[in-house]
Structure formats: structure tokens, C-alpha cells
């Protein structure tokens, strides 16, 4: 055991707050701590200016107007707000009750849709085939006169696959249906120009980009109106009440700028990920889940047969590696990840999955360490596995 060592490769779960982000937030904790609604005195105006500067910066980086960016407490709230809001306004307007999504959405979207289902909405789930990518023609086919919303995530959190957002938005618009995307895993990692893509609403979250947890945003295209999720003092142009998280907004802007600006870091991450993919694939009975081309450079998802992911993660933890799995055992549902199952993988393969999600802070040397330790851990679990025993026996018989 190498208790001293710490290799964090679970950046799709959450990230370390970067030093520059902490530095940027700090003045809003102890100096310009005013309430942005208190515009009658300097300290309030300073907070307001910081908030609006952050909004402007974010909107510029995303290719939209500052007035189209609303801060939220995170990705989940943004997902809930957009989906429930659009559904509610369709209901009020006496429009249809049909929503189209994909099979691999985050629970923030899926569970929100399930809630709507109970209220009488009908949900269609687009297939993602074995590569984890939705097909535009399937959306075209799924659209009905009753369809009031298309919501497909930008990039998947487990397998990193990137969806054909532009085509999906175009098809939606052809049918005059608003297109929402949960871009929590994509923002900061891909070059996204909202206007060019024609997105109507988009959710993002800071803590995947090295801000503290508890800040996110919803982009809503100008003119797209839907009810608020949270009522009150009328902040965020009356659309999201609650005293604004000024430091969080500042953090989000800085983190997004750094993430988008670091092209070098992205190439480094890609190289590390590819190196890892190549070497982990050498472990027998392993397979990479999800398309390798249309995929976030940060993400690798490998399944190892005959073992179960929870044990793998626990062994890796013992040697200081923080990673995650889509195994059933890591959840309370006893069902393996819906994302891996959507790829058509049998349950037993889903159980043995390992997700590694990198950041530019990781090093090539860490990749070697991971390769060594994953190889060790998989071997160790297989040596305990009755399934592996069976495999070996069957091979003996065959010989």
C-alpha cells in the first residue's frame, strides 16, 4: 500500500477547487461581501458589478447574451428548472404532453422526467446503440404532434460520449419544439457556441470545472418563457430568486475561462487518456465502453470481465487512486448503470466497469501508476472470482 500517494481521477464526479478560483472568490467573502441587491451603497454595487461581470464573461464564452444566463445552485437545479418549466408552460398553454430524451441522461434529467410522467407526460427515450450516441434520424422519427420538449445531454458523464447537438437542435426547431441540453459535462471541455448550435436552454455546473460545489447556471434563449422553480425577492431578473451567490458566480467565470483557455492542458489530457486506454486494454477480457472518437478527452470507461467494480474501486482506494464505477454495488439500486445497459452490455460486464476522468493536473507518471495498480487489482479480484475460475477451467477442457 502506498498510503501517501493520492491520484485523483474522478473529475467527472467533482473537482478540486483551483487556487486561482479561490483567489478570485476570496474578496467576495471578506471585502466586497455586500448583497448585489443593495445597490444604493458601494459594497452592494461592487457585488452587483462582480456578478454582472461574471455573467457577461460566461455569456461571451458560451456565445449568448448576458441576459440569457441565470445563475443556479448547480446543474441539478438548472435541469429541474428548465424541464419542469418548459413542461409546465406547455401544459398551461394546452399544448402536448410528449417529451423526447435519451436513454443515457443524468438522473437530474431522468428523475425529473419520471416526476413529469406521473403528472401525465409521456416520455420517449432515444436509443444510443453500442457506441453511446443518439442518432438524429431517431429523433426525427420520435417526434409527434404532442412533442413539447427535446432534452438530450451534451456529453455523457459515465462514458464521455458527445451527442450530435446541432443536428438534434435543428430537427427540434424544424418542428418548433424547444431543445434543452444538460451540458454539465461538456461546458468548459468543448468549444460550445450556443447561438451557432441553436440551443434553447442549457444547464451547466461549476464543480465539474474546479469551482466549489453549489454554483451552476441555466442559459435560456431570449424569448423562451417558462415558470420559475424558485420564487422570491426577484433576483436574476425575477426568474431565480434568492440572494445571489456572488463568489460562486465569480468562481464560475474564472474556472470556465481557465478551462477553455487551456488548450495545452486538453491535449495533455487527451494524450494521457489515450495512453491509459491503450494500456488498460492490454488487460485480457477488458473492453472500452462508448465511442472513442466522439468522446470527451477526459473520459475513459473500461469494463473488466469476471470482476465487480466496487471491489476494484476499493482496492484502488487502498493505493490512493480515486476513480469510479457504474457497478450496481456502488449505488443503492442494485442495478448497474443505466448508461452501460443502454449500450446493450450484459449486466455482468456493466458490473466490472471502471470510469477514469482526468484533469490537466494529472500527470503521465500517474497514468503509469494507474495502469500498474489497475492491473494488480483486476488480477487480484479475478483470483478470487468463481467466474474467472470457470473460465480457466473451460479453457483447460478446451485444450
Amino acid at each position: 500500500m502506498d498510503a501517501e500517494r493520492l491520484v485523483y481521477v474522478d473529475n467527472a464526479a467533482t473537482t478540486k477547487v483551483s487556487k486561482s478560483v479561490i483567489d478570485a472568490m476570496m474578496p467576495y467573502f471578506h471585502t466586497h461581501y455586500g448583497n448585489p441587491s443593495s445597490e444604493l451603497y458601494g459594497m452592494g454595487r461592487e457585488a452587483r458589478v462582480a456578478l454582472e461581470k461574471a455573467r457577461l464573461g460566461i455569456s461571451e464564452m458560451l456565445g449568448c447574451e448576458p441576459g440569457e444566463v441565470f445563475f443556479t445552485s448547480g446543474g441539478t437545479e438548472a435541469d429541474n428548472w428548465a424541464i419542469k418549466g418548459i413542461a409546465e408552460s406547455a401544459k398551461k398553454a394546452g399544448k402536448g404532453n410528449h417529451i423526447i430524451t435519451s436513454k443515457i441522461e443524468h438522473h437530474a434529467v431522468l428523475h425529473t422526467l419520471e416526476r413529469l410522467e406521473k403528472q401525465g407526460f409521456e416520455i420517449s427515450y432515444l436509443d444510443v446503440y453500442d457506441n453511446g450516441i443518439v442518432r438524429a434520424e431517431d429523433l426525427e422519427k420520435a417526434i409527434k404532434p404532442e412533442t413539447i420538449l427535446v432534452t438530450v445531454m451534451f456529453a455523457n458523464n459515465e462514458i464521455g460520449t458527445i451527442q450530435p447537438i446541432k443536428e438534434l437542435a435543428e430537427i427540434s426547431h424544424k418542428h418548433k419544439i424547444p431543445f434543452f441540453t444538460d451540458a454539465v459535462q461538456a461546458v468548459g471541455k468543448l468549444d460550445i457556441n450556443i447561438k451557432e448550435l441553436g440551443i434553447d436552454a442549457l444547464a451547466l455546473s461549476g464543480h465539474k470545472l474546479h469551482t466549489p460545489k453549489g454554483i451552476g447556471a441555466l442559459y435560456v434563449r431570449k424569448g423562451l418563457k417558462f415558470p420559475n422553480l424558485i420564487e422570491g425577492g426577484g433576483q436574476e431578473k425575477g426568474r431565480r430568486s434568492g440572494t445571489e451567490n456572488v463568489a460562486g458566480a465569480v468562481a464560475l467565470e474564472v474556472a470556465l475561462r481557465e478551462s477553455l483557455g487551456d488548450k495545452e492542458g486538453r491535449e495533455k489530457v487527451r494524450a494521457m487518456r489515450d495512453y491509459l486506454a491503450e494500456n488498460l486494454s492490454k488487460i485480457p477480457y477488458s473492453r472500452i465502453n462508448g465511442d472513442m472518437k466522439n468522446r470527451l478527452v477526459e473520459n475513459l470507461n473500461v469494463a473488466f470481465e469476471f470482476i465487480e467494480g466496487e471491489g476494484l474501486i476499493m482496492l484502488l482506494d487502498m493505493v490512493g487512486i480515486c476513480a469510479s464505477t457504474g457497478s450496481a454495488c456502488s449505488t443503492s439500486s442494485l442495478e448497474p448503470s443505466h448508461v452501460l445497459r443502454a449500450l446493450g452490455l450484459p449486466h455482468e460486464i456493466c458490473h466490472g466497469s471502471l470510469r477514469i476522468s482526468l484533469s490537466s493536473e494529472n500527470t503521465m507518471e500517474e497514468m503509469d501508476y494507474i495502469i500498474e495498480k489497475v492491473t494488480w487489482a483486476v488480477g487480484r479480484l479475478r483470483s478470487m472470482s468463481p467466474l474467472y475460475e470457470k473460465l480457466l477451467e473451460s479453457q483447460k477442457t478446451e485444450q
Binding site: M314, C329, P346, H347, E348, H351, M384, P386
Partner: protein, 146 residues
């Protein structure tokens, strides 16, 4: 989430392996559910003189298998018959609620191995009340307390 005992039995599982020409072998669970436990028993004079296990499953599955083997090693088969999942959970200092089914599986695996032994030697297995199901899924009988 896991107690130190669970972590210890996961990190250093006791009695991993196979026994060639075992007197009783039991396997329960299935890969789809994510847990398979296989227990090998060596029985001399109605006493478990050796026991080994192999487990495909989560940390708790490995730890409960390990603990179950420890609990029965050197015990008479009448004592082994009385093994409960509760005893395994207690010996581990507790398990998260969603993991209690692993202890049930461990109990079942031991009973299945014992049943195999009984069948081999022509003894009645009805006292064992075995099952080879996927416990999280079957829902067909109640093991109390979980």
C-alpha cells in the same frame, strides 16, 4: 460506509481459494445480479476442518464470504447449520442496509455447500432450507432483520 472489520476482511480476505476434492461445494447468486459466492468445505468427523471461498461481488460480498468462512472453520456441522446472516453482519460490526443481502448470500452459500455434502453422503437436507437465488432479486423468502 463500511466498518473497519468489513474493510479488513475485504483487504485481507481469509480463506480465499479452492479445495480440490472438497467434501461439499456450494455456489449461490448470479452474475447478472453482481454477486456469486462459492464455498468449498472439507469435513472431517462432522467438523469443518477446512473452508475456502471464491466470490464475484462487491466489497461487502467479499468481506461477508471471508467472515462466514471464519465463523464456520473448525465448527461442527450442527453449529454451521445454525449460521445466520445476522451473525455474519454482527461479526463484521454491521453492514449498510443495501449490503445486508450480501450476508444473506454468504449464509446461503455455506448452507448450499453443506447441502452438497449432505447429498453426497445421503443425509437429509431439509433442515437447511437452502436457496441458490439471486437474493437481492428473488424476494421469495424472508431472512429476517434485513
Amino acid at each position: 460506509m463500511y466498518t473497519e472489520k468489513v474493510m479488513d476482511h475485504f483487504a485481507n480476505p481469509r480463506n480465499v481459494g479452492e479445495i480440490e476434492n472438497a467434501d461439499g461445494v456450494g455456489e449461490v447468486g448470479n452474475a447478472k445480479c453482481g454477486d456469486i459466492m462459492k464455498i468449498y468445505l472439507k469435513i472431517d468427523n462432522d467438523v469443518v476442518s477446512d473452508v475456502k471461498f471464491k466470490t464475484f461481488g462487491c466489497g461487502a460480498a467479499i468481506a461477508t464470504s471471508s467472515m462466514a468462512t471464519e465463523l464456520i472453520k473448525g465448527k461442527s456441522i450442527s453449529e454451521v447449520e445454525k449460521l445466520t446472516n445476522k451473525a455474519v453482519v454482527e461479526a463484521l460490526g454491521g453492514l449498510p442496509a443495501v449490503k445486508v443481502h450480501c450476508s444473506v448470500l454468504a449464509e446461503e452459500a455455506v448452507k448450499a455447500a453443506l447441502a452438497d455434502y449432505y447429498t453426497k453422503i445421503g443425509r437429509d437436507t431439509s433442515s437447511l432450507n437452502t436457496c441458490d437465488g439471486c437474493c437481492g432479486a428473488c424476494g421469495s423468502h424472508d431472512h429476517g432483520d434485513h
